[in-house]
């Protein structure tokens, strides 16, 4: 049987901050900024949360939902641009914390915001080649924008884990296709705390070119048009870019209804498209076709042509929280507490 998604789980930290509150501190019109980005709130991790803890929480949910024995996992790949260690893999801690060690391979992936989708492709290859029974692909970030930078209005925290296998597949992967170029739209140099970006250059030659070309490429290869898909999920650095990409390609707002989560939790970077897909799967019945197109700066896109199966009817989603819960809940913080939580306050002696 074809490799596909066997189980999934998502996790978003509890705290939120609004663009109005960020703008209040920097003397900007935060409401207008939020409106133009289509980001109404963004998630903020607690001081004791990072990419390792978020990845672990989302994978634990996925394993319980799918009743998967962690010892049957042959590979764990964690995609992120905010790994807590520069050297020591996030995946090793996650593997230990879910009881998957020691007989598995594990590694960290980095490709700006698309490291999680790259991890899914790797797992599909390993499972498809019958080298492992289950592969785990996780996309998580706790990324930050520099204080006062436009990124600060959207950079948030969250993640999702997908278990790839061949038994009891709830969502088949019909095809995957990538589009990669050298495009320096967004980067972070070694040792730098905050990323840099090319402003408007992140739009047309970067996000829109890669996402639309990759989407057109996979639809051409599959012989499909936007009408063939019930749902579409794009990488969502803000709420506006994916809406415009959808419009360019000919998708309706209804097709994007569940896949667009950034307006409520912000840009979770490597987690963004995957949390959108998790929300789609939370609502999907059998036989629903889904197009997902991730994007990572630097730059590249990974597209997936997906279709849910009859197995999704009996898939037990009652464990853990649905994505919608995270979209609707959250405790709002003042900028001062947000700055404390995110380590933006100089404590002296450092």
């Amino acid at each position: 049987m074809q490799a596909g998604i066997v189980s999934y789980g998502a996790y978003v930290p509890r705290y939120r901050i609004t663009p109005e509150e960020i703008g209040r501190v920097w003397g900007s019109d935060g409401a207008a900024m939020g409106q133009s980005l289509n980001v109404h709130r963004k998630s903020v991790p607690s001081p004791d949360e990072d990419t390792i803890t978020i990845s672990t929480e989302s994978l634990r949910t996925a394993l319980v939902r799918g009743a998967i024995d962690p010892q049957q996992i042959g590979a764990i790949y964690v995609g992120s641009e905010s790994h807590p260690y520069a050297v020591k893999p996030t995946a090793t801690v996650v593997a230990q914390a879910v009881g998957a060690t020691p007989n598995l391979t594990a590694a960290d992936f980095e490709f700006a915001c698309k490291a999680g989708t790259a991890a899914i492709q790797t797992c599909l290859g390993l499972v498809g080649a019958d080298m492992i029974r289950y592969g785990v692909a996780i996309g998580t970030d706790t990324s930050q924008g520099a204080p006062g930078d436009a990124l600060e209005y959207s950079a948030s925290a969250g993640g999702a884990a997908f278990v790839i296998g061949r038994d009891r597949v709830i969502c088949r992967v019909l095809r995957t296709l990538s589009y990669t170029t050298d495009t320096p739209d967004f980067w972070r140099r070694e040792g730098q705390k905050y990323p840099s970006h090319g402003g408007r250059f992140t739009g047309e030659p970067a996000y829109f070119r890669h996402v639309t070309e990759c989407a057109r490429g996979i639809m051409e290869a599959s012989g499909t048009t936007p009408k063939d898909y019930r749902h579409v999920v794009f990488h969502q650095p803000n709420g506006k870019f994916p809406q415009r990409a959808g419009k360019i390609l000919g998708f309706s707002d209804e097709q994007m209804r569940y896949g667009l989560v950034t307006p409520f939790i912000g840009n979770t970077y490597s987690g963004a498209a995957l949390i959108g897909l998790a929300n789609v799967l939370d609502h999907a019945g059998p036989g629903e076709r889904i197009l997902m197109v991730g994007y990572g700066s630097g730059a590249g896109s990974d597209a997936f042509d997906l279709e849910t199966t009859e197995e999704i009817r009996s898939y037990d989603r009652s464990f853990g929280r649905p994505v919608e819960w995270y979209l609707e809940h959250g405790i709002e913080l003042s900028y001062a507490v947000y700055a404390k939580f995110r380590g933006k306050i100089h404590m002296g002696g450092e």
């Binding site: 929480e57 319980v64 009652s318």
Partner: protein, 163 residues
């Protein structure tokens, strides 16, 4: 804390790995090699098996910390509680994702995986269990699952916390 000491405790801190006496079904956390509940301790020899707690429990007692331990300055005020797990053992742990006034005796909690402390900016980061409310004050949440399968047989004797 030395790297080796924390590393040795990883199974407990990450996965709530305890032990269970298959003679009287008492569950222990941290794990014990001999069961003090059995009338003759020798009855439990070679009958103690690894047992993973589900992480579900309720607050037995708690305190709100305003004068933090080193490394917890960013989380003040925070809650430390005695949590009675459904399997019996009573664990001490921080309760997170809750405002201190909302914590009460009997609050249903589940184990969550969090950063415990860092050895400075360049040192090792320690992870382990903390607890979070099963229900958010702003609305109920769906039931949580155990992080991994646990033996189906429930403890028949009234378990007690390890000494």
């Amino acid at each position: 804390m030395s790297i080796a000491r924390f590393w040795r405790e990883t199974p407990r801190r990450y996965n709530l790995g305890g032990s269970k006496c298959t003679n009287c079904s008492t569950v222990y956390f941290p794990p014990r090699a001999v069961c003090p509940e059995c009338t003759h301790h020798r009855q439990s020899i070679e009958k103690m098996v690894p047992f993973q707690l589900s992480g579900d429990g309720e607050v037995l007692s708690f305190t709100v910390v305003h004068d933090p331990a080193q490394g917890f300055e960013m989380q003040v005020p925070y809650v430390v509680a005695l949590v009675e797990t459904v399997e019996g053992p009573i664990l001490t742990g921080q309760v997170v994702d809750v405002d201190p006034p909302e914590v009460r005796i009997g609050l249903q909690v589940h184990a969550t995986f969090r950063k415990l402390r860092e050895e400075g900016k360049a040192g090792v980061i320690h992870y382990g269990y903390k607890f979070a409310p099963t229900e958010e004050p702003s609305g109920p949440s769906p039931p949580r699952g155990s992080p991994a399968p646990i033996p189906a047989e429930p403890p028949s004797a009234q378990p007690r916390a390890p000494a």
